[in-house]
């Protein structure tokens, strides 16, 4: 299987603390992957490195068929290359309507001049409507997103990610603070999305990971402790010691 993202030998230190230690990670073009690990295992730092927010001290991060290095690119360039990120806390533009949020995320030219003269076409509006239906917010299009419930904001953010049409989706704790029904909806959104693209989900909740039914990577102290099926890694003695046993 070809690789979409290849992270190899990456290390990063903050004030003497090794947040990521010789980490290597690969994911293919249409794959769902869950990353689990205790607090401070480096899950969020890993995402920061891939999205360009943090520059690693050493190691390589290669992207796509052409194996472009992401380390020299800015956050905006990486996002344009096809990596979308969902934050732990829902971050949507609260002052703006659901429709404006989705329109902003739509995969269109991002330069200031082309955006200045851009006006929503019929096609863009119908694509927004389609996305809104997918995330269950079709009747909320004109509402300010700041008024939405916590779960709805999470979906809106997932909808914005889908609108970006990324090749890789990085999702940080999507089910945090959701009701059981909302979780189910989120699971199906992610599983559906992973049919056409790579999706990496960072999650604490074992039950949620079990429902995703995918390959799992366990992080501990900044490197990979184990990788494989959920039942396989949960049977691993090292994993039990550092994580599950607590």
């Amino acid at each position: 299987m070809s690789t979409l993202l290849e992270v190899s030998g990456v290390s990063v230190t903050f004030d003497g603390f090794r947040a990521i230690n010789n980490l290597s990670f690969n994911i293919g073009p249409a794959e769902l992957r869950a990353i689990i690990g205790p607090n401070g295992a480096g899950k969020t730092t890993f995402m920061d490195i891939v999205t360009g927010k943090t520059k690693p001290d050493e190691g390589r991060v290669l992207w796509g068929e052409k194996n472009v290095s992401l380390l020299k690119m800015s956050e905006a360039q990486i996002a344009q290359a096809g990596i979308g990120r969902k934050f732990q806390r829902p971050t949507v533009f609260e002052d703006q309507s659901v429709e404006d949020n989705l329109l902003m995320a739509l995969a269109r030219p991002r330069g200031p001049l082309s955006v200045l003269f851009w006006r929503a076409s019929q096609k863009a509006l119908s694509r927004v409507r389609e996305l809104a239906e997918e995330i269950g917010l079709a009747d909320q299009l004109s509402r300010k997103s700041g008024e939405l419930s916590h779960g709805q904001k999470q979906w809106l953010e997932i909808g914005m990610l889908l609108a970006q049409e990324p090749k890789l989706l990085l999702v940080d704790e999507p089910a945090a603070g959701m009701t059981p029904e909302e979780r189910e909806h989120t699971t199906s959104l992610l599983v559906e999305a992973a049919k056409t693209r790579a999706v990496v989900v960072v999650e604490h909740d074992m039950e949620f990971v079990r429902r995703l039914n995918c390959k799992v990577t366990v992080l501990h102290e900044g490197s990979v402790l184990a990788e494989g099926k959920l039942d396989h890694v949960t049977a691993n003695q090292k994993v039990i010691d550092v994580y599950l046993g607590r």
Partner: protein, 411 residues
């Protein structure tokens, strides 16, 4: 779904333009030149200058209220615009005078003699007579008009490129912009800066070629021009913030990092809005100073740019008409208080003289507006429009320092 035109989506634009037209018509009908003469020429000039201040406030609202960049240096761009037009006004006016007096000489003066005489006239006060290189285009109205937008634009472009590229934000950026305007003012205070040091440029109210036209007429023409510039600037600004560009700007204000992860090159957007608003400020300054008659480096002192932020805050940031209301209200009230028209308050043991106490009153109202009415005077419009605040349990609309507070936003 048919997309409606700009004014239909934002009826406030039409209301604003109608009120502005009504105001201009009213002033015209009450002016000395074209009407009953109820308004004195100097008051017409005050009103015309106020319109220019409204225009620079609109620019400030774009950059602060929409993009969240608290620039405390936009009055430097305003002043630069004034200097650029002032150079032409002063040069041409002096040439008229010099040529007039030399024409009586027995031998007609050469072109070089006239230029030298103009130089002596203009730079005599700073002990020089040579034209500095920056006056190279002073004899061409067209080129100086180009410089009115080009010089502030270029300064903003260079400054913004350096600042935004290094991701300087929040208070640090505000301090940098203050430093920029202070440095510019200090430079211009020097006699060898080439712009007459602390004397500044004067006699700007005398328009070359219009010496026979009384000031009462000239003041009306400038008021019309200022009103037209404000109308155009307002519509342009409303158009800029109406579409996706406006969405991105507001996104940058509330949550810059998120906009970046959507793939937008945030720095380019900031640079563009910073530069465009600097150009608008330059145009406003170029219309202001011929009405004021004089420009000197004190005009671009750091405090002037802080006033600009105070006007926008009192008017209500993040809404263009709020900036206009704030600038007009505060600057008119200010000239009433500081002009000695406000009656002193005699407390028996102490007399409050408003000329001294006005700044304290302004400061207190600024604090009061920030704490008790964050939506400013423009927020009164929401009472009529019945716009409600979102219930965000006290949280801001985004994590950034420039983000709107819950109380500033509407549903």
């Amino acid at each position: 779904m048919q997309r409606r035109p700009l004014v239909a989506r934002h009826p406030s634009i039409l209301i604003f333009l109608a009120l502005l037209a009504l105001f201009t018509l009213g002033v015209t009908l009450l002016s000395e030149a074209y009407g009953t003469g109820y308004l004195s020429t100097s008051f017409v000039k005050t009103l015309g200058k106020t319109l220019c201040l409204c225009l620079v406030a609109v620019a400030m609202d774009l950059v602060w209220g929409y993009a969240g960049i608290l620039s405390l240096g936009h009055f430097a761009f305003f002043g630069l615009g004034g200097y650029m037009i002032g150079m032409w006004l002063m040069y041409e006016r002096t040439r008229d005078i010099v040529a007039g007096s030399m024409a009586e000489a027995a031998i007609p003066p050469t072109e070089q003699e006239i230029v030298d005489a103009i130089g002596t006239q203009i730079f005599g006060v700073v002990g020089a007579s040579e034209f500095p290189a920056i006056w190279a285009f002073a004899d061409s109205l067209l080129l100086q008009l180009v410089l009115v937008v080009a010089v502030p634009g270029l300064l903003a472009l260079v400054f913004g490129w350096l600042a935004f590229r290094s991701r300087v934000t929040g208070v640090y950026l505000s301090i940098l912009t203050q430093a920029m305007t202070l440095a510019l003012a200090l430079y211009l205070f020097q006699n060898d800066s080439g712009l007459r040091g602390n004397n500044g440029l004067s006699g700007l109210q005398n328009i070359p070629g219009l010496t026979d036209v009384p000031q009462s007429h000239v003041s009306m023409w400038f008021l019309w021009a200022s009103a037209a510039a404000l109308a155009l600037g307002y519509v342009l600004s409303a158009w800029i913030v109406s579409g996706k560009f406006g969405s991105v700007l507001r996104g940058i204000r509330d949550n810059e990092a998120r906009v970046r992860f959507l793939g937008y090159p945030v720095e380019q957007y900031k640079l563009m809005i910073f530069t465009v608003t600097a150009m608008i400020a330059g145009i406003a300054g170029a219309l202001y100073y011929p009405q004021a008659g004089i420009i000197n480096p004190a005009e671009i002192a750091p405090i002037a740019s802080i006033y600009l932020a105070v006007w926008v805050a009192i008017g209500g940031r993040g809404r263009l008409y709020g900036a206009v209301i704030g600038a007009a209200f505060v600057s008119l009230v200010s000239s009433w208080f500081t002009g000695g028209q406000a009656p002193d308050v005699n407390l028996g043991f102490y007399t409050i003289s408003w000329v001294d106490w006005w700044l304290i009153l302004l400061g207190l109202s600024f604090v009061a507006v920030t704490i008790f009415a964050p939506r400013g005077i423009g927020g009164l419009v929401d009472l009529i429009a019945d716009a409600r605040r979102p219930d965000r349990h006290g949280a801001d609309l985004g994590p950034d320092q420039g983000a709107l507070r819950e109380k500033e936003a509407d549903r």
